[in-house]
Symmetry: C2
Subunit: 260 residues, 2 copies
Amino acid sequence: MATAKEFDEFDAPAHLKRRSRPLRVADAIKDLMVENDMVAGDRLPSETKMIEMFGMSKGTIREAMRLLEAQGLVETKTGPGGGFFIRQVSHERARALLGNYFYFQNLRIADIYQLREMLEPELAASLAGKLPAHALERLERDIARYSSPATSLEEERDHHVNSLRFHMRLAKYADNAILGFLIDFMASILSDITVSRHLYDPPNFDLWKNGIDCQTRLVAALRGGDSDAARSIMTEHMKYARRLMQNQEDIVPKRFIRER
Amino acid sequence: MATAKEFDEFDAPAHLKRRSRPLRVADAIKDLMVENDMVAGDRLPSETKMIEMFGMSKGTIREAMRLLEAQGLVETKTGPGGGFFIRQVSHERARALLGNYFYFQNLRIADIYQLREMLEPELAASLAGKLPAHALERLERDIARYSSPATSLEEERDHHVNSLRFHMRLAKYADNAILGFLIDFMASILSDITVSRHLYDPPNFDLWKNGIDCQTRLVAALRGGDSDAARSIMTEHMKYARRLMQNQEDIVPKRFIRER
DNA sequence: CCCAATTTGTTCGTATGTATC
DNA sequence: AGATACATACGAACAAATTGG
């Protein structure tokens, strides 16, 4: 169990001496989580308890909790029975944090499509014959949301967003958590960019048609359990969309992804 | 410019009223960064200044800065000329933060290899003929580090780590920032797991041999600008390694990735 | 080498807000 | 409604780090 002594700054190795107290407390809490096999929902010691444990002031402890909160690892509740609780890092938080990184990385649209072209076909193939009826119906409802041609620019924008929503839905069903997360991340960035940069303007009828067509055939292939067909339909779709975005070599605009 | 009034809690829309003050300050600072096109190295207003600006106490401001610090967006320096400085989210920080997410996701070794098999061949292909001499030499030096068979378990472990280091090096040269980051991330997780789970035990001579062989041929292909060869060598290598890990269906052990 | 100025780091006491019983 | 247990927030004071004279 953690004692105040362990965290005494004078005990710290030389190269760690300068680390601030909140940072050290946050690390200690992480260790606590790992060593005690704590899971989401578990309660951490209260502020007062931590003040004793670490021999540090309330402000320092609070700063430490903020460090963990920003990482999505901890949430806070006031009132009796309240305190700091361990939280599973949410999809949305992870997406936003990774987005912060790419905020500085001069992403190009083509980069995103290069990834999508590698990942999405494999996801499609892996899901063939694996999805329950309600999932397939949900996908069909996603498609239905933009199945009639857009008659206004706003509708065109919504079509783009809804088309990407289909891909995010697919990503949720992924058996491979990394694969699912990444596909969702790509679609999410793309959706942001499409809206903020007005990439839906001018409307592109062919892209819409290809999207509807491919997604419809894809659902059929998924239902039929035809893995190869699913892969090649998705490949075709990605290549098509990529070609249309190919000239979008612009740097992705700088803005932070909001946690939704 | 931001004024205290803007952040008065009573001005906030209903659904945002409960957001804590540090959270709101952190968001305001992010907006400040975006709107003023601030870049890494730029200095944010000092504590005292922010206390005025937001009309909040020192503790609250500091908690807000910790929120940004944890995301890797801000660093702090004491002394004259010190203060809060904008910082480009580092590779290592992004890796650690994303690692937090997967800490809760029941990752399997096979999942990681599925991704590597998709991504690494494309990276290899895209680098053929593009790397300057010093980069190729660096890769060769990475290979040299484990070119003689391991004679002890520690050496075997180092061989695994060094082999993965080769892939991380390759990732650094990627033109596509997302692709590079992801490959590095996979190799990094794998390296962690290999060490912490002793996956290098028992030693696997064939895996080592295949690694050396493939990497040597890969560098030759990269130097010769043979894109297709580079892709197929990497594919072969990944498939081989994947097969050997195939039975490693275990859940990845729960531990946080340390920022290095 | 020391001293002074500047800026963050940390503590403590107090008061307030919030949810539960 | 009142008591309790918890986080949230403020303000004043002092400590530590860094820079420049």
